[in-house]
Amino acid sequence: MTEWILTLVIFSPLVGALLLWLPPRGYEHALRRGALLSTLATLLLTLAAVFAFARQQAAGVTTENGYRLTCHVPWLTAAGPERIDVGYRLGVDGISLALLTLTSFLMPLVVWGSFSGIRVREREYYFLLLLLQVAMAGAFCATDLLLFYVFFEFTLVPLYFLIGIWGGPRKRAAANKFFIFTVAGSVFLFAGVLYLAWFAWKTTGTLTLNLAALTDLGRNGALPLTVQRWLFLAFAAGFAIKVPLFPVHTWLPLAHTEAPTAGSVVLAGVLLKLGTYGFCRLSIPILPDASFELAPVVAVLSIIGIIYAALAAWVQDDVKKLVAYSSVSHLGFCMLGLFSLKVAGISGAVLYMINHGLSTGALFLVVGCMYERYHTRDVHRLGGLARRMPWLAFFLVFFTLSSIGLPGLNGFVGEFLVLLGTATSATTIDGLPAGPLGYGWVIPAALGIILGAVYMLWMCQRVLFGPLREPPDTPDTSAGLTTDLTRREIAVLAPIALACLWLGVYPRPVLNAVEPAIVQNIAGIELRQAQRPEACHLPDATSVATMFPPHPRSTPPPAAGIAAGESLVMTGGSAHVP
């Protein structure tokens, strides 16, 4: 059963999506409820998966590269001297499970939150949303690169239509820009994946896209630095646009502004995380040397992005665009934490992904509630809404505080760990080899925290406080809304608020789940850095494995022996594996 639970989680929305075509025209309410039920069912399945994961972890079930709940169906296989091993491989570790849970948690809220906003072509709308869920969940669970790439790319299609059909006035331009940007990056990503597969085939004799096997390659130093550099750039092209990292972020503000509320929430909440997740899952473990070498470059871009986007957010008149720019700034923190290459920093980055998904997603929902009533998001045309809409004011302030990292709410924990990881990166204070960044990197990044408060509070002040200011003939309650938030809207926002509070006060379960995965993830870096003095030439894998055993806290990779054997053969110059 545990073998198939991830498959169920991934494809259950597809079942829901197909069932949506059953109700005849005129039964839109049944349609909406059906979509909601489908997402709730997926949420239940996800919780079951979390439970099963925890049980396996408690039972100490051995894992392949830290993945649990694994499932493997061979697909393209060939035996013999030139083996091919591409398959339907699923599995989750702490990192992907956290993001999967985030996806399944946000989707019902997104669907429920769309009930009043979407009035045309509802069947197609919910159908696409559910398809999007399949793609996102699949991308987080896939442990075969080809499968990952398929899901990763497939997220584009539903979102392209969601923006292009249900978006704002400039929806066509936004959808096109979004699509072209991301596809352009993905081409490089795909080239990188193919090259990696080819290289693996050349060195080990197996054409594999199995993530665990490729990770072993990277960890054991089978990939020369130059190869790693090119691969890193190729992967970065794909992921950096998705994150988005400065300077390829310009598609995001437009896409966010034009997308329907649900699109923005999913985009900010989950899709951007595919970029950071990609860095975390592919670049860092498979390309440890290049990651280490290029970390300062990524960090510089992240820091520029943090400050640049924060300043740009401050001068926006459109609230939604402001939140969109804030996303760019926040994701900069996330990238900084990832490339501190320290457990604290990466834990922080993973938490940051979740936190950003919750608080920014919620901010988009709140802005959506506002927009449905006032048909504008211009700070010059709105003001003093706190008096008219106390509930909206409460949630907007709450998520603002979460977003600017108030201790006690979720944002702080991630932010603090990111900065801690960055600050201590150059030291061995946590018993790990020194990383590429250091205390000096924290100072400009921390400026971003000040600016974060500046623009968010500026927005709150403009929109919520001061004398009441609203466009004529508003608030528009024609779509069955009330002046203040309806009970449905409160019920959509309240779970997110509770999650924010919980993660701020007691993040321990998440940190506990994530940490082993991170230790596993940067084991390559540790191993490679530990033998840095002789790093210039291709290392002898056995000597590495014996001289520098994996970090005592990291669970030793069960395939280490085999992997070492393989690379031993490889360094011997032969491509034959017995």
């Binding site: 072209i180 300077p247 310009t250 503000p253 986007a309 300043l311 740009a312 401050w314 001068v315 926006q316 320290k342 457990v343 604290a344 834990s347 003093g384 706190a386 008096r387 505080l401 108030l406 201790p407 006690g408 702080f412 924990v413 603090f416 760990l417 900065l419 801690l420 990881g421 600050a423 201590t424 030291t427 204070i429 946590d430 018993g431 790990l432 205390y439 924290v442 100072i443 921390a446 400026l447 925290i449 000040i450 408060a453 509070l457 500026w458 709150c460 002040q461 919520l464 406080f465 001061g466 004398p467 009441l468 007691y506 993040p507 321990r508 940190l511 506990n512 940490e515 991170i518 806290r553």
Partner: protein, 654 residues
């Protein structure tokens, strides 16, 4: 300290934290639908619980004469660092904590009681009554968390949480643009301070590998880093200065003082509680708590002392010209906080905390009395619009005078003892610091007198249509208690009574501040002049300042206007608060917004333009080839024929 005592302390700390929090949550959840005008009860109960807990802590610690008086208790694990270590939610209880707790919760309770009437108009709760009490409860919780915290991370939590409460309460009348702007300003200026504070916390972790008070202070005292290397003084200085940055923000010291006067847009009880008695003293508390770090760096200590003295004088001069009663009090608060920093900087932390404690009484009293005036006059607080309230508001008048006298340093009131002690220690360190303290003392006496004479003396004068009425018991009683404190609270620190306050605190500072101070206890053994000379001088100066104010504002009322006309430049500078706000606007805010616009323009033109250029290549190619795909069948046919011919020729040729 035995297990039983630890259990008591653990229970107390939980009560102190959770009772106000529960009050706040219940007030927030049930206030509007259920409790309404009775919401104050639930918060009063919560805060009273905290007061009880605080007193139990005080007496428990006071009772344990033997053994260590410090208890560190971990409640639960909060954030993992990835090294298998966690930052815990833990509390540290020592005499300093106990005194802060008693002061904070005690004043809070009085202010919450006072607010019951203050937040009503014509006996009906104001709009947002429930919200107000919920925020107050939340504040008490946050402040207690700040004071109780046992590591720097939790300190940071409390630090930011009190800032949040301050933000929410300054902006309580959010429909007034000034209030909304002041709230934002307070939060942001504090964020600037917290930027330094946060970096300091990270540097502490980087240096020592832990954030727990005890371990960090032990390592500083031993002069080693977490890795066992010798600790460079430069590193300690850097940490101390970064922490000081946070203290400057929270305690409104130069150059981050700009938010506090604006914070007076909040309701008066908030000004009394948060912006006078408790939250703004967090910086003082923090420096005192981190004494080990600060005293290890002579440079940092000098900066603390100079900063404190400079701020004290700077703010006192501004207070001379302002006309908004609450703003005068705000500048006075900044000035008094400057005194506390001066005290810390001259190694007299116990005296600084003593001043913190007496100041809490008389400044809270002054703000509450000013609030009483405001309540009576329908929200007007500018002394140019009223005067001679002595007969109209007799009780408020008396209470205000008591507070002002204590602030002015009239002999034998609480403010007199603590301030004199600070000046005394300042003289021990450097005569210039002492002199600055004395000058400030004269100015303080002058503006205190000015407030009283302008507001309460002269012919009765009230704005039109306002019928002043004396406040009710709910407001007068808490003020009475505070007035008693303003008169008598100082005697726990008087030499004549053997300074029980200082002796109680002594174990906390014994190895830090006290170990570095010159003749900390020499005072008691010195000659008669050394012991009482300064006391007499500063007392005389206080009376002189008040007399001068009386002369200028009662005896010769034409004098201020004449002075204003003669020294127009100086007056304008003081009236505009040395133009600091304008400077920040011109140097920081506007340039940053300009850069922001530039960033957006760059996004729209340069980055997108570059990308357009890149896409221009395929687009150009496509444009060329488009001519071939015009949809004209003949051209396709021609192309086909030509192509086929070429291919056939090629094949034949090969």
């Amino acid at each position: 300290m035995n297990e039983h005592t630890l259990d008591i302390l653990r229970t107390c700390s939980l009560v102190i934290l959770l009772a106000p929090l529960a009050g706040a949550v219940l007030a927030g959840a049930l206030g509007r639908p259920l409790l309404r005008g009775a919401t104050h009860w639930i918060v009063i109960l919560g805060v009273a619980g905290a007061v009880a807990g605080a007193f139990v802590v005080l007496f428990t610690l006071h009772g344990t004469e033997t053994g260590p008086t410090t208890a560190a208790l971990a409640l639960y694990q909060w954030i993992a660092t990835g090294a298998g270590t966690w930052f815990a939610v833990e509390v540290l209880i020592d005499p300093l904590t106990a005194i802060m707790l008693v002061t904070v919760t005690g004043i809070s309770l009085l202010v919450v009681i006072y607010s019951r009437d203050y937040m009503r108009e014509h006996h009906h709760p104001q709009r947002g009554y429930e919200r107000f009490f919920a925020f107050l409860g939340l504040f008490v919780f946050s402040m207690c968390a700040l004071v109780l915290s046992g590591n720097f991370l939790l300190l940071y939590l409390g630090w930011e949480a009190v800032g949040l409460c301050s933000y929410l309460l300054i902006g309580f009348y959010y429909q007034r643009p000034a209030a909304a702007a002041a709230a934002k300003k307070a939060f942001l200026v504090n964020r600037v301070g917290d930027f330094g504070f946060g970096l300091g916390v990270l540097l502490i972790y980087l240096t020592f590998g832990t954030l727990q008070y005890g371990s960090v202070f032990d390592m500083v005292a031993a002069g080693v880093t977490g890795a066992g290397d010798p600790l460079p003084t430069a590193r300690v200085t850097a940490i101390a200065l970064l922490l000081l940055c946070g203290a400057c923000g929270k305690s409104a010291q130069l150059p981050l003082h700009v938010w506090l006067p604006d914070a007076m847009e909040g309701p008066s009880p908030v000004s009394a509680l948060i912006h006078a008695a408790t939250m703004v003293t967090a910086g003082v508390y923090m420096v005192a708590r981190c004494g080990a770090i600060f005293t290890a760096s002579p440079l940092a200590m000098t900066i603390v002392a100079v900063l404190g003295a400079a701020t004290a004088l700077f703010a006192a001069t501004i207070a001379l010209t302002q006309t908004d009663l609450k703003r005068i009090l705000a500048y006075s608060t900044i000035s008094q906080l400057g005194y506390m920093f001066l005290g810390l900087g001259v190694f007299a932390a116990d005296t600084a905390i003593f001043h913190l404690y007496t100041h809490a009484f008389f400044k809270a009293l002054l703000f509450l009395a000013a609030g009483s005036v405001m309540h009576a006059l329908g929200g007007i607080i500018d002394v140019r619009q009223f005067g001679g309230l002595r007969r109209l508001l007799p009780w408020t008048f008396i209470l205000f005078v008591v507070g002002a006298a204590a602030l002015a340093g009239v002999p034998l009131l609480s403010g007199f003892f603590s301030k004199d002690e600070i000046i005394h220690h300042a003289f021990e360190q450097h005569w210039l610091l002492g002199l600055l303290g004395l000058v400030t003392a004269v100015l303080t006496a002058f503006y205190s007198g000015r407030m009283v004479f302008l507001a309460f003396f002269g012919p009765p004068r009230v704005p039109e249509g306002v019928h002043p009425h004396e406040s009710g018991h709910w407001m007068l009683l808490p003020m009475g208690v505070l007035a008693a404190g303003a008169v008598a609270a100082g005697y726990v620190g008087v030499h004549a009574f053997d300074q029980p306050f200082h002796r109680f605190l002594h174990p906390v500072f014994a190895s830090t501040f006290a170990a570095h101070a010159h003749g900390q206890f020499a005072v008691a053994h010195g000659g008669l002049w050394a012991q009482y000379g300064l006391l007499i001088v500063s007392g005389a100066l206080a009376l002189l300042g008040i007399a001068a104010a009386w002369f200028a504002y009662v005896a010769q009322p034409w004098l201020p206007a004449t002075l204003k006309a003669v020294f127009v430049g100086a007056h304008q500078t003081l009236w505009h608060k040395y133009y600091v706000d304008e400077l920040y606007g011109a140097v920081i805010v506007r340039p940053l917004r300009r850069i922001g616009r530039f960033c957006v323009d760059t996004d729209d033109s340069v980055v997108d333009g570059l990308l357009w250029l890149i896409t221009a290549v395929p687009r150009g190619l496509a444009f060329t080839f488009r001519a071939l795909h015009g949809g004209v069948l003949q051209s396709y046919a021609v192309t086909m024929v030509v192509g086929l011919t070429i291919m056939v020729l090629l094949v034949l040729a090969l």
